[in-house]
Amino acid sequence: MIELLAPALLAGLAVALVAGPMGSFVVWRRMAFFGDTLAHGALLGAALALALDVNLYVAVVVACLAIAGALAGLQQQRQITGDTLLGIVAHTTLALGVIAISLQKSVQVDLFAYLFGDLLAVNWGDVLALWAGAVLILVLLAWHWRALLSITVNEDLAQVEGVPVTRTRLILMLLLALLIAGAIRTVGVLLITSLLVIPAAGARRLSRTPEQMAALASLLGLASVSLGLAMSWYADTPVGPSIVVAAAVLFGFTLLRRPDA
């Protein structure tokens, strides 16, 4: 059992660890739908990786960044509001991704695995790549923490105080794209946002500082992955959705506590 579960558990923990602080930024900056849109676009990246036979992670990061750039451009016009625009882009890229993957003739691709993740299919190579990515993201987060927090509180004030606002925003996009690339094989494109948002939302009620919230979100994410995997093992349920359900249950418990700040 342990030989079978160990890679899955370690891969899931790597994603959950990073999803804590990243999810906190998604919640603070109200980017949940934006993150969802990037995740849906990631499927298109995965399809391209299969078609062109390039590295999956690289293709997904490139696809996410391209979509983030396109969204920034499209938001210049005023007739269509931001969330409508996100809805259009999210579902169009998802549809294109599904079509592109179903058109692959060379390999038999399990579409379900991309949509809802297939944690049990990861190998030790994936585990290594995920932890390398996780460490990279955490280092970059720690390095730019104050700038990221500053632009989250107030961009004007941050800029006056000398924070490079545009560059910091780009760094956040890049980190989000990296995380989504890592998460696509583990929880799948449809469930990534939940792993970002649910633990962070649960941590909010228990925290007084941003750092506390980020750390607690990581802990809740780690617990969700462990519980979800256990549920999947004993009840034979799909792994990705089991993790999300575990996260939701943990969130439910945090509601029992009155927020103090």
Binding site: R29, R146, V153, L157, V160, E161, Q212, M213
Partner: protein, 264 residues
């Protein structure tokens, strides 16, 4: 924006700046210089372009025409009109100040002491009242040891006694540090008496000079109504309707001003 040095000592110099949002001109040929040790107050009706001019000074916006010169290495402390921290972000006052000055616990405590809100240090930012938030924002601006302090409507939501204390504090800060101060106000209470230079703005500079000179200027009286301009300078009657009566124009939102007031 030019990086070359402005005249010796001048903090920020705005030369003939013009800015339009689409077809709507917000600023037209506006010039302004900010000097160290001098308190400049920008007054004008709602929608006159005061905040936009402040954004030019702060480097948050660029003019379509004209130019803005800032002294190289200028440190600016900025107190925005509103600052709302999202409910989802847990943030204590101390952490909020840390964003401007990391690693200096003592400096943060001193800054809060200075603005009279040392007791709020461990409180959550989102639970603060309007007046408390203003003082915390001022503490954050002071922490930067600024050469120039820019305060957008600092007296908003503060009672008269609080305003008096606030302007007193600004005067002290100016005397001690020699920084320049730019105040924005559509409110004439106290401001006129505590300032070195008044600039009266209504898309363009209507008049400017010492408070005494401006208060005698016909342009000032045309802008602030036929009653003679300053019903509240001498008397401390606090009247909330006053804001809306000031311009003599219908009340407009910030960017929606149609600019119906021309007097030159």
């Amino acid at each position: 924006m030019s990086q070359q040095r402005a005249d010796t000592g001048t903090l920020v110099a705005v030369h003939g700046a013009g800015l339009a949002y689409g077809a709507h001109s917000v600023l037209d040929d506006v010039s302004l210089t900010l000097e160290p040790g001098r308190i400049t107050t920008l007054i004008g009706p709602n929608g006159a372009g005061k905040s936009t001019l402040a954004r030019l000074v702060l480097g948050l916006a660029r003019p379509d025409r004209g130019r803005v010169e800032r002294r190289p290495g200028l440190r600016v402390g900025y107190m925005p009109q509103h600052l709302q921290v999202d409910e989802s972000l847990p943030l204590t006052v101390d952490r909020f100040l840390w964003l401007a000055a990391p690693g200096r616990t003592r400096a943060r405590r001193d800054a809060l002491q200075r603005t009279g809100v040392a007791h709020l240090r461990r409180r959550a930012v989102r639970g603060l009242s309007g007046g408390e938030m203003q003082r915390v924002l001022l503490a954050r601006a002071l922490l930067r040891k600024p050469d120039l302090l820019v305060l957008d409507e600092p007296a908003q939501g503060v009672d008269v006694a609080g305003q008096d204390a606030l302007y007193g504090l600004l005067g002290q800060v100016r005397d001690e540090t020699g920084c320049g101060i730019l105040l924005i106000s559509h409110d004439l209470h106290l401001v006129m008496a505590r300032t070195d230079q008044v600039v009266c703005l209504h898309h363009h500079v209507c008049c400017s000079g010492t408070p005494e000179a401006v208060s005698r200027d016909p342009a000032y009286h045309r802008l602030f109504g036929p009653s003679g301009g300053m019903p509240n300078l001498a008397v401390y009657t606090h009247d909330h309707d006053h804001d809306h009566d000031l311009s003599g124009d219908p009340h407009h939102d910030h960017h929606g001003h149609t600019g119906g007031h021309h007097h030159d």
